[in-house]
Symmetry: C2
Subunit: 357 residues, 2 copies
């Protein structure tokens, strides 16, 4: 197959989508051969992938590869695309853990299978069936990610080189996810602790490690790994901070989640920790009683938004995002990166901190 | 490190345990470096591994390797031990899906973390926290399995050869698990369907695929793969049938689960399907109303045990186990397997169908 190298992000994303759909089509055929009852699993997996978004992890991995100056190929692109399936696992399991009913405006997987259980008038608890299905589909996505990487067609040496980064990324993801649920339950108000969760759960896993994975695939030297950390760590944190802002201030049409959903879920974000640091006693009490209340109205959400703005927390977080973005930019300028990769990473700075892709 | 090849099953199991503990000790140290809050995750993982049992999958993988006649090493043993961590994931997630409160006599992981949430007086739902933690620990175990395999120290060629089997095994496991929850919800009474679930969920994953994995590590020829299928598929089904019998007739001291737990969980086993085929209308009604009732008393369980025996279902299932075991034995006798492996596989015939290890 002919492959024209590109650093156009939209084009890469389209190629990633195509590879994912090709992979899933073959796997779904295989599931159907095992048993026709697996057709619902297969179609749910496909729909979930089709509905989804930015492919940030495959993008960063592929751009991380381009930064090494090695010649890309469809096999490399396919190996990078495999990272999206880890994210599918994370999202499916996350929605069970957060008891989130929707994902990108559609029912979350556990809700979809709960509905299937009801429609087919199956026996036992519909809710439990939905949760079980979402756990298993997430597990399957994690295994598929491995399979897609292993079968990508990249040479053995590149594969072997990439595995330590691939493993590290996933251990950090699971550790970060645990810290996240623990902080939420601990009802932490510490900015420092929230930043640590953001780093592991999201920052390293979304940006630094995918870049390292691509760098390993391309046989990068140690200096490039360091540049990618210097760029990826602050940008990853900025990414999570933007996520936190959108979780409270985002437009439901764009986030695919109800307005202020992070408040209903009681998420312990840096934005909230800053607010608890800066707001007066009365405002703090309002927020404490609202956090984790699933019945919060839009009016309640608006009241909290006002507190977050008026106490200066939003401005501080926006400043943090800006300064982290600057750090990332400066790392790019001082690092030795192939110009094709560098141009794409510069574009990605804006995209991940402003969510414009 | 010096390594004396052995086909003594207990000795192999001890070596597997040692490798697992070494791996987990290093990983736990790493988790603690990320955050001290992860210490509870680390100790729960270690305890779960220590408590656990037969290491059947590592054993079959290692014996599968010995059957190729290749020279074993501690690296190969370590690669085989990694399969146990897949099983840890399966068990942790299984207990959430079945809402089982105990595992080998100790609280299941979700119950242990539910208790931690209560003890530490954390905020939010203790039950939800327990479930979330069990999902994440299972995910982490699945990722650790990869990491342990990748870092085992086996040469790249062996690793690359083993990956397709490793992937296949895990896809089949997840597919089988889904079929299992679906059959349970579908309240199937079909012997054929129950056998299919048993094949994927347990048979292939416990015996055939681990043997194939070991065979691939040892660079086996196609004929050995076929012998392992001819041995592993019937033995795997016999293994699951024995499990079904123990799930209703087993001694709680040995199974680590309350007597008749499969009935309370409403499991759709071959044993129950056979009973529904053979029992009279009155007995069937008794069983239908009991299945899935978590409040079943020992007296209720005893009544159902009598039905299963008197209608002849138990005898039929015992016959099935015997005939499948014979098929497996005959495959061993006709296949070309290195004698060291063959001797161990003959021993394993008895162990998996009678649970004596």
């Amino acid at each position: 197959m002919s492959f024209s190298p590109t650093n156009d992000l939209k084009e890469i994303r389209n190629l990633v989508n195509q590879e994912l759909l090709n992979f899933v089509a073959v796997e779904n055929k295989y599931l159907n051969e095992i048993a026709s009852e697996l057709a619902t699993v297969a179609s749910a997996m496909e729909r979930f992938l089709l509905d989804s978004g930015k492919r940030l992890r495959p993008l960063f991995a592929y751009i991380g590869f381009l930064g090494t100056g090695s010649k890309p190929s469809v096999e490399i692109l396919r190996a990078c695309a495999a990272l999206e399936l880890i994210h599918v696992c994370a999202l499916m399991h996350d929605d069970v853990m957060d008891a989130s009913d929707t994902r990108r405006g559609a029912p979350a997987i556990h809700k979809a299978f709960e509905a299937l259980h009801k429609d087919q008038k199956l026996s036992g608890s519909s809710e439990q069936f939905g949760i079980s299905a979402a756990i298993l589909l997430g597990d399957l996505a994690l295994v598929w990610s491995d399979k897609m990487l292993h079968q990508s067609g990249i040479d053995s040496q590149s594969l072997i080189r990439s595995l330590p980064m691939y493993d590290e990324m996933r251990v950090e993801l699971m550790a970060g996810q645990y810290l996240d649920i623990y902080e939420q339950a601990f009802a932490s108000e510490s900015v420092e602790r929230s930043l640590k969760v953001a780093r592991y759960k999201s920052g390293k896993y979304t940006i630094e490690r995918p870049l390292h994975f691509g760098a390993a695939l391309g046989g990068a030297n140690q200096s490039l790994f360091k540049t990618y950390s210097d760029y990826g760590l602050p940008l990853g944190e900025a990414f999570q901070l933007r996520d936190d802002v959108l979780g409270i201030f985002g437009n439901p049409d764009e986030t695919g989640k109800p307005a202020g959903d992070d408040l209903r879920e009681g998420k312990r974000t840096v934005l909230l920790a800053k607010t608890m640091e800066l707001a007066d006693a009365g405002s703090k009490a309002v927020i404490k009683s609202a956090l984790g209340n699933p019945k919060l109205t839009l009016e309640d959400v608006n009241k909290i938004r006002e507190i977050i703005i008026s106490c200066g927390a939003l401005a501080e977080v926006e400043n943090l995002i800006s300064s982290m973005t600057s750090s990332a930019q400066s790392a790019l300028e001082h690092g030795e990166i192939d110009p094709v990769g560098k141009a794409a990473l510069t574009q990605l700075l804006t995209i991940v901190t402003q969510r414009t892709l």
